[in-house]
């Protein structure tokens, strides 16, 4: 099992030994970095392509239709067909747009999506860079997508994309705060910001001591995942690119390869958000029997499945509901969750711990739900109509 577990790491070491025969030692460092970068640069777009296929098949099956199955055996070549279509489509730039920013926006949106891969621990010692501020790096880099999306919407000089841009900034900023706070319990429990340490901290009970099995971990997992869904503008929160209301939101004026870049950024952030949620709360690559990277892939793709399952089921939130949920429900609940994590670590005895934390969490979420009663105008009384 160890052999299978470390298969990628050993293969990289083998390549390095091979290269060290004729390269000076400095060059070895560069070669090893290049191998990791190459792996990520290949894995990123590849997983994006097959996530689009996976999503179309899944949402199709939910709606009693089969989904793409004509290109290739089970429609497996459909992403390649989409890619070619995107490449050959004419790239229209609106006359009023300011060219530089219009061209720059898709590039700037893909950079953070790819940067985040460097921090994700794919398997035991299979992380590109083990930054000791890994998680913070992820949050900082995903904050840059707000600027990129806004550049795209402002530069295309189009009412709909400007509307989309305004909604995106409102949504991303207001969901970033609860996201950071939802990640804090995992940091408290593992005592370090580095993603690898967080996963190692969930290693007990031969790989099953995940944070999600503790009450605060479960709440933190739900919060982080919900904010993650909002961060990449996915279904219950896809107000910025709502096809029915504002044509296509911020990427209305993009076609051809630029639109493909927007699409790639969105799907890569779907993957990285699920990967991070799995790392933080579902014990990243920790698991009893299978090799570490297999566990990581199973958990991540399970979370991606749930995100796409949302897309097949849930209707879109109104803007005020979306903002209300972020500020009036998620934020207070994550703060209380941090309090409960602290309590969890400073009280001894399982019964007291469980009772206390579950009690606080249930009461607080019930009170918050009470406070957030949606405003229902009272029914109008028609004196003369009856």
């Amino acid at each position: 099992m160890i052999f299978l577990d470390q298969i990628f790491v050993n293969s990289k070491k083998a390549i390095l030994n091979l290269a060290s025969a004729f390269l000076p030692t400095d060059a070895i460092l560069i070669v090893s970095a290049l191998i990791s970068i190459g792996a990520i640069a290949a894995f990123g777009p590849f997983t994006m392509m097959y996530l689009t296929w996976f999503e179309r098949k899944l949402v199709g099956r939910i709606q009693n239709r089969i989904g793409p199955n004509r290109v290739g055996i089970f429609g497996l070549l459909q992403p390649i067909a989409d890619g070619i279509k995107m490449l050959t489509k004419e790239d229209i730039v609106p006359a009023g747009a300011d060219k530089v920013v219009h061209f720059l926006a898709p590039v700037v949106v893909v950079i953070p999506a790819l940067l985040v891969f460097s921090v994700v621990p794919f398997g035991r010692n299979m992380v590109a860079i083990d930054l000791n501020i890994g998680l913070l790096f992820f949050l900082a880099v995903s904050a840059m997508t707000t600027i990129a999306i806004f550049m795209g919407s402002w530069a295309s000089r189009n009412k709909f994309s400007l509307l989309g841009g305004m909604r995106t900034v409102a949504q991303l900023v207001s969901y970033e705060v609860p996201m950071v706070l939802a990640a804090v319990p995992a940091i408290l429990a593992s005592g370090s910001l580095s993603t690898v340490d967080i996963v190692e901290a969930q290693g007990g009970w031969n790989g099953l001591k995940w944070f999600v099995f503790t009450p605060w971990g479960f709440v933190g997992f739900l919060m982080f995942y919900l904010c993650g869904v909002a961060e990449c503008n996915r279904t219950p929160f896809d107000i910025p690119e709502a096809e029915s209301e504002i044509v296509a939101g911020f990427h209305t004026e993009y076609s051809g390869m630029k639109f493909a870049l927007w699409y790639m950024a969105e799907f890569m952030s779907v993957f990285t958000i699920s990967a991070l949620t799995a790392t933080l709360y579902l014990g990243g690559y920790q698991g009893p029997w299978l090799p570490s990277w297999a566990w990581f892939m199973i958990k991540t793709y399970a979370l991606v499945f749930v995100m796409m399952w949302f897309r097949g089921t849930l209707p879109r939130l109104r803007v005020d509901q979306m903002m209300g949920l972020a500020w009036k429900f998620l934020l207070p609940l994550t703060l209380i969750n941090i309090l409960v994590t602290g309590l969890w670590y400073f009280t001894s005895g399982l019964g007291l711990r469980l009772g206390l934390s579950i009690g606080i969490l249930l009461v607080s979420s019930w009170v918050l739900v009470l406070f957030n009663r949606p405003y229902m105008p009272e029914k109008r009384v028609y004196e003369f109509a009856e």
Binding site: P24, N132, L136, L139, A140, I147, F150, W154, V173, E176
Partner: protein, 172 residues
């Protein structure tokens, strides 16, 4: 061979940041100026990474690029009128400002290059010896240990600023 590459990279980043800073000041289109500022901030964050101050680099990207620049862009969007392109963006006092600042830079630059920084530390060597890099653990302990009072005062200022901004910008 690696340190030379790293030096080249850092000097390149510094030069690009200066060019972006000039862009912030000189570009007529205010939105492009804001984007150049984002470029400068990222360049400075790269400089912090070179100085092994990772936490500050990440906080800078998270706070400045994530929050402050979003705010600035919102303000630009709400106050931008299409007619703004034609109005000259700089007032008449650019020449005196240039001269004064040039004198300032020459003065301070000369001062910087002349002083021998090793005096500060009292040890020999041309370059001041180096402190160990500060990792987030030490920073956290300091923020809540030795500097807990300024930490609380800053949070009070933040709340005051928040409420002040809401009251000022509210449309009553």
């Amino acid at each position: 061979m690696l340190p030379i590459l790293a030096k080249l990279f850092i000097y390149g980043v510094l030069f690009l940041s200066l060019v972006a800073a000039l862009g912030v000041v000189l570009l007529p289109n205010i939105f492009h100026a804001a984007l150049c500022l984002v470029g400068t901030l990222l360049g400075i964050a790269a400089l912090y990474l070179a100085l092994q101050a990772e936490f500050i680099a990440v906080v800078q990207v998270l706070l400045y690029v994530g929050a402050v620049m979003t705010l600035v862009i919102f303000a630009i969007m709400l106050t931008h009128r299409i007619g703004d392109m034609t109005i000259p963006q700089t007032n008449k006092q650019s020449l005196p400002a240039c001269l004064a600042l040039f004198a300032f830079v020459v003065l301070i630059g000369g001062l910087l290059l002349k002083t021998d920084w090793s005096i500060l530390v009292g040890t020999g060597g041309s370059v001041a010896s180096v402190n160990p890099p500060v990792d987030t653990f030490m920073l956290g302990k300091a923020l809540l240990g030795e500097y807990v009072f300024p930490f609380e005062v800053v949070s009070v200022i933040l709340i005051a600023g928040l409420i002040g901004a809401i009251v000022v910008a509210r449309k009553d």
